[in-house]
């Protein structure tokens, strides 16, 4: 009797493990082939981060990360709606990608060496240069992070923020207490009730979560940026065809902005004689075919989703609730003194 129940448990364990083998067939044909066969892209996004990936009042996904996935769909299918979204927690995201549950992860994910080299993943580029910041109640009278000795700090589990804040306090020989929650909503609730003195996450995230506080005006974002957080889309390692599609979708959007091609003028630009624009829009060369797509892949992205600057201003820019001004920030184009730079289509 006892032996039989132990065997039952082992069999169940075995079944759970064998579930990991189910996707191996799709791997061999390449993700691009598998995606084309099923007719849509499965995109992993956050569980709700305004400006990046969040559901609007009508239940549609919006945000800069969501727009990137729509751009990939536009490149592959010529239809920016051929994409399905899977909300993932910070903890689940890499497992969901490596197990094949999602085809691409566009979930404000920081590019780090460990993630790039140890998790079997590849980062396709950077669509937002972020950095970790801290927010405190104004009533504490703190003006910079060096005054935070002895603070208790609320944050999310399973992110680089836990490591960065630990490093920062260790470097400066300050003591602190870390209270780490699984979901951002509980972090905000705990911080708002006074459990912690400090709320820390990426600065874009602070700008977004601050809107959920009872009195957003009573809180100050400290000037320090304690880490580099280049956020970008992620794909599985070892599938170069799909990796190329992911990387060049982003490059297309950045190059388009640099060349002045936007969703508003892409129609007239199709007849442009500028060779750079002609290559970008597919009227010259076979750049699209070379990565397994239609030649007008980039034109589709721009007309259906827009160039990088358009998605930035629509989702996180100065005229959105997040009010993250682009001018003068690292997210400006390289021609404007920022870091947004894409290799040329040539």
């Amino acid at each position: 009797m006892k032996l039989r129940s132990a065997m039952g448990a082992l069999t169940a364990l075995g079944l759970a493990l064998s579930a990991t083998t189910a996707f191996s067939a799709a791997h061999n044909e390449g993700t691009l082939g598998a995606v084309e066969a099923k007719g849509s892209i499965q995109c992993g996004v956050s569980q709700g981060l305004p400006g990046f990936s969040n559901k609007d009042d009508a239940g549609n996904w919006t945000g800069i990360d969501v727009d990137y996935c729509r751009a990939v769909a536009a490149a592959v299918f010529g239809d920016s709606n051929a994409v399905k979204f899977t909300p993932l927690s910070a903890k689940e995201r890499f497992t969901a990608l490596s197990s094949g549950e999602v085809d691409i992860l566009s979930r404000n994910t920081t590019w780090t060496m460990t993630r790039d080299t140890q998790l079997g993943l590849n980062f396709a580029g950077v669509n937002y240069y972020d950095g970790q910041g801290m927010m405190v109640p104004t009533s504490l009278g703190v003006t910079n992070a060096m005054e935070l000795d002895g603070a208790s700090i609320c944050t999310n589990t399973g992110t680089t923020t836990e490591l960065n804040i630990t490093d920062f306090f260790r470097t400066n020989n300050m003591s602190f207490e870390l209270v780490a929650f699984e979901k951002a909503d509980e972090v905000v609730a705990a911080y708002d009730s006074g459990r912690c003195d400090v709320y820390t996450t990426d600065k874009s995230g602070i700008a977004a979560q601050r809107l959920k506080l009872a009195d957003p005006a009573a809180h100050t974002i400290l000037p320090e940026t304690i880490s580099k957080e280049p956020l970008g889309p992620v794909v599985r390692q070892g599938d170069d065809g799909w990796f190329n599609v992911a990387r060049w979708t982003l490059n297309c959007m950045i190059n388009a902005e640099e060349m002045g091609v936007s969703s508003a003028n892409v129609g007239e630009m199709m007849s442009s004689t500028n060779p750079g624009i002609a290559r970008l829009l597919g009227t010259e060369g076979t750049f699209g075919e070379n990565i397994g797509l239609a030649n007008n892949w980039c034109a589709n992205i721009i007309s259906m989703v827009g160039n990088y600057g358009e998605t930035y201003e629509a989702n996180v820019g100065a005229n959105t609730p997040l009010k993250l001004a682009r001018e003068g920030s690292v997210n400006a184009l390289w021609t404007n003194g920022g870091l947004m730079y894409a290799p040329p289509l040539r």
Binding site: L17, T21, A90, L140, D149, S152, E177, A189, R195
Partner: protein, 418 residues
């Protein structure tokens, strides 16, 4: 026996005889089944390794030696194992998680059992108010999802407690000030026992006294069985334990100092409040999780207890009354021993449920094994299979130990038929 019958049928033997021999046939099927099971697992293992290689992922348990770089909330685990970032290994993180899971599970089981028995008995009370309260308790608590209750308790606990820079909660009754409980939003502060030299001897004396008390109880029982004379062995035993331990404690020169928490009310605002690392603290995350797990499980235990008591025929009570037993003796010596036989098996399931439900801790930042090992550590290491496997083993071992203990207890409580 069966073997012999097979022989008789076919004297010369051979392969045919073996097949018709039920024992040999049984053995054959067992071997086939065993091979199939081994083959299945070999296939699963091979498939998993192949797929991991395809995904370019690391495997193995080498990561346990690596140093972790994050801080863990002050809890029992971090009191027992130092978790300084950059020095604690992932194995330390694992054990801290295990200790924290065990702490909330064990304390939860104790509180849930006490509360569950009380509520269960209240449900059978003749007092309308008690019965009504118990009914409402059971019906409300067991019909709301546990995760909601945990979040609710957590937010309520946080909102009720005084702020971080306040010393504690004023407690008063009928206008009389009963002092301040050192409890604010960062936790309940208590003295921390600092053990001095010679405490080991005190501990030995305590254990010795326990053995002595057990011997006294055993002798008293023997005597009662032989002569019918009763002896207050419980009180004598208690006196022995307390007395011997106290004498040893003072003879060793009181080798125990209490380190009191320190509250500071001046200096920079962030440094005010209770000072970290002085005294000990129970964080509100633990309090909320422990309370909600216990209250939720108690509602199920109450129903089990009620069912157990109702399962004892009324004739038993009447018989014990006829023998001249008091109400207390009736409950203690007749009803509960028989009710326990019905109560224990489902009670075991509730204990296991409580332990497994403690994994919901991650929602409210209590650093249990799921939160810190399968959460933060997993996100840094990324070896799901090894780490989830270790976690499953933890829960399996805890559950099997709980089951084994409860089965042993059940055997002791079984009706002994003569």
């Amino acid at each position: 026996m069966a073997h012999d019958i097979g022989r008789e049928k076919d004297e010369g033997g051979g392969l045919a005889a073996l097949i018709y021999d039920p024992k040999a046939r049984g053995l054959l099927f067992q071997i086939i089944l065993l091979l199939a099971v081994i083959g299945f697992f070999a296939w699963v293992l091979d498939n998993t390794i192949t797929n991991l290689a395809v995904q370019n992922k690391k495997s193995g348990f080498g990561f346990l030696e690596e140093k972790s770089g994050f801080q863990i909330l002050t809890t029992l685990g971090t009191f027992l194992i130092e978790a300084r970032p950059g020095q604690a290994t992932y194995l330390d993180i694992f054990w801290i998680g295990v200790i924290n899971t065990l702490a909330v599970a064990i304390l939860g089981i104790i509180f849930a059992t006490i509360l569950g028995f009380m509520i269960g008995i209240f449900r059978l009370s003749s007092n309308v108010i008690l019965r009504g309260f118990a009914t409402v308790y059971v019906e409300v608590l067991r019909n709301i999802p546990l995760l909601l209750q945990i979040l609710f308790f957590y937010i309520v606990v946080l909102r009720l407690l005084p702020g971080k820079r306040e010393e504690g909660m004023q407690v008063g009754l009928f206008g009389i000030d009963l002092g301040t409980i050192p409890l604010n939003i960062t936790g309940l502060y208590m003295p921390f026992p600092v053990l001095g030299e010679g405490f080991g001897t005190v501990l030995m004396a305590f254990l010795g006294a326990c053995v002595l008390a057990w011997v006294v109880a055993w002798l008293a029982k023997k005597r009662q069985e032989a002569t019918g004379q009763q002896f207050p062995s419980f009180w004598v035993g208690l006196a022995l334990i307390i007395g011997i331990t106290a004498v040893a404690f003072y003879m060793m020169g009181s080798p125990l100092v209490w380190e009191h928490p320190e509250f500071r009310n001046e200096g920079p605002i962030l440094r005010r409040g209770y000072q970290a690392g002085v005294g000990s603290v129970i964080v509100p995350e633990f309090i909320a999780l422990w309370l909600s797990l216990s209250l939720y499980t108690a509602s199920f235990i109450a129903e089990i207890v009620r069912a157990g008591i109702l399962a004892v025929p009324g004739g038993q009570t009447e018989a014990s009354k006829a023998l001249g037993m008091s109400n207390g003796m009736n409950l203690r010596l007749v009803v509960i021993p028989q009710a326990l036989r019905v109560i224990i098996p489902p009670l075991t399931s509730q204990y296991l449920n409580l332990t497994k439900n403690s994994s919901l801790a991650v929602a409210i930042a209590y650093p249990d094994i799921v939160s810190i090992f399968a959460g933060t550590a997993l996100n840094q290491i990324g070896q799901e299979i090894e780490m989830i496997f270790m976690m499953m083993m933890v829960y399996l071992v805890i559950s099997l130990v709980t089951s084994a203990f409860m089965n042993w207890f059940n055997d002791r409580m079984r009706l002994v038929e003569r």
